[in-house]
């Protein structure tokens, strides 16, 4: 089961690479900066640059490429759809024909750029989750959010980190629940292929019901273990090291040149 869940997309792959050893806050900031660059991709040269950058980082963290491909695969249909929409509905001066379809070069480039943005966003997010354990991500996020005056909004950085932690925590739990439900429904004669609508109902209603019950149980367990949302400390130590400073400095310099460009 654990092996199965480890193959789920955006999961953590333990290791001892340089990326694994970086402080989670550095990686979170790097991902945020990279996301801004990625959303502004505007040429094929940029695509090439991010392709090489990703391949370099993925090779460095010694994680098989297949792991990252798995992160992108669930969104494949969406990518094909947005690419086709751009290809078919973008006007342009240079056109060519594929059988009965007339498409423009502009549409082709726009579709490629748009899909590349989504693909790179997912790949770099997968790089973060593959090299950082979920608890380190949430602790890092909590530390990053701590200086913000969130109390005026009625929440604390701990609350946000805990919510994020639970959204990660409940994915495998719901997966287990779904598998149990599937076995239970199939053993009682549910024909998945015969009536898809009935199948959706047979799975979704008990799944939602069980999830709500799980949340209730966990909240009771949290309460009984003195959770208040404030005044918490952490078992994880966060400490910037030399490499973190190098990465953050590089990001700051590149951002400076990017802004004055």
């Amino acid at each position: 089961m654990v092996k199965e869940m480890n193959s789920l997309f955006l999961s953590f792959v333990p290791g001892d690479s340089l990326l694994h050893r970086l402080d989670p806050r550095t990686k979170l900031v790097a991902l945020m900066v990279a996301s801004i660059y990625i959303l502004n991709l505007s040429s094929l040269a940029h695509i090439l640059f991010f392709t090489f950058l990703f391949m370099f980082l993925a090779t460095m963290c010694k994680i098989p490429f297949m792991h990252f491909i798995r992160s992108v695969r669930p969104m494949l249909l969406f990518f094909v759809l947005i690419f086709l929409l751009q290809l078919l509905f973008t006007d342009g001066t240079h056109t060519f024909r594929i059988k009965w379809l007339t498409v423009s070069y502009e549409g082709l480039i726009l579709g490629t750029l748009l899909v590349s943005r989504f693909v790179f966003l997912l790949l770099f997010a997968a790089l973060l989750t593959a090299t950082t354990s979920p608890s380190m991500i949430t602790t890092g996020l909590e530390r990053l959010l701590r200086p913000l005056p969130l109390r005026y909004l009625g929440v604390s950085s701990h609350d946000i980190a805990m919510m994020m932690s639970f959204s990660i925590y409940f994915v495998p739990l719901m997966y287990d629940n779904f598998k149990d439900l599937k076995d239970a429904q199939l053993s009682r004669g549910l024909n998945v292929k015969k009536n898809p609508f009935k199948t959706i109902l047979a799975f979704s209603v008990p799944l939602i019901n069980n999830s709500i019950r799980s949340v209730e149980d966990v909240s009771l367990a949290m309460e009984s273990r003195c959770y208040r949302g404030t005044g918490r400390t952490s078992v994880h130590i966060m400490a910037f090291k030399g490499m973190d400073l190098i990465v953050l400095s590089s990001l700051a310099i590149s951002s400076f040149f990017y802004l004055i460009k």
Binding site: S135, S214, D217, R225
Partner: protein
């Protein structure tokens, strides 16, 4: 240590899950609570932990009232609770992180948290699983981790809500052994279960029915009572046999054998 004074609680209007219950638990006692489903056992211990607040009466833990919002963290620090389903109690991604959750909430330093995590995991024999995901553990191992999570908060009292009901006999026995060890170290135990055989070593056995305490006495004395079966509880075969042998005057009715070992000893003496 704990005092419940005329405590009532209902989940639905006029349907009392707990009806004017008064109870005193002394420091270091092992209290066993049994009763049929819906008799109010779980409600009673949830009221002690402050997860539920009484509609009437009051619950006092070491001089702190559960109705007092400022005392609730102090009460939960003293009175830890282990639930029925170990899976539903996990909060951390790894065993170590889960055990650390309670000490983190208490605002302890990194060194103290790590120290408590290691000590409590070693105490339940789960230290080697510190970096494992809790989901991959067996039922008994999960319940041991749940117990370690409570031990890490160093409570003076532990409330067990049918903590072994989802475990096989071997795992139940292991968890019970740990609970007895804790009791021997001076931790007060309140243990709720359907299985009376798990409560024969308790200092006091409380039988509940329809939200009321109907028996509260020494287990040996209570299990020898004529009307014990009226409360809807199921007697373990060993005790049924012992009672039968006592009633038939085969063995002396003065000291009812309540465990397999005691019954074997009594029968050996006959031969």
């Amino acid at each position: 240590m704990i005092q419940l004074n005329n405590v009532s609680y209902c989940y639905n209007e006029n349907d009392y899950a707990l009806d004017s219950v008064s109870l005193e638990i002394k420091k270091g006692e092992f209290i066993g609570i049994a009763g049929r489903n819906g008799s109010g056992k779980s409600t009673l211990i949830r009221l002690i932990n402050g997860l539920l607040l009484p509609l009437q009466g009051n619950v006092n833990v070491m001089g702190m009232d559960t109705m007092d919002n400022d005392s609730i963290i102090g009460i939960r620090k003293i009175a830890g609770m282990v639930f029925q389903d170990p899976q539903s109690q996990f909060i951390g991604m790894t065993v170590g992180e889960d055990v650390a959750f309670g000490p983190e909430n208490l605002g302890l330093s990194h060194e103290d948290i790590c120290g408590r995590v290691d000590t409590s995991l070693k105490a339940v024999g789960m230290y080697i699983y510190k970096d494992h995901t809790p989901r991959a553990l067996s039922g008994g191992q999960k319940q041991k981790v749940a117990l370690a999570s409570i031990l890490a908060m160093e409570p003076e009292l532990i409330l067990f809500d049918e903590a072994t009901s989802m475990l096989d006999p071997v795992a139940s026995e292991e968890v019970l052994k740990l609970i007895k060890q804790l009791h021997n170290k001076g931790v007060t135990i309140v243990y709720v279960t359907h299985r009376l055989e798990e409560l024969i070593f308790a200092d006091r056995l409380i039988i509940m029915d329809k939200g009321r305490i109907i028996h509260d006495d020494n287990p040996r004395k209570l299990l020898n009572e004529e009307n014990i079966l009226d409360s809807g509880i199921y007697l373990p075969p060993i005790i049924e046999l012992s009672r039968r042998l006592c009633s038939e005057q085969v063995i002396e009715p003065i000291r009812l054998p309540i465990s397999r070992e005691e019954l074997m000893e009594a029968l050996c003496q006959l031969m």
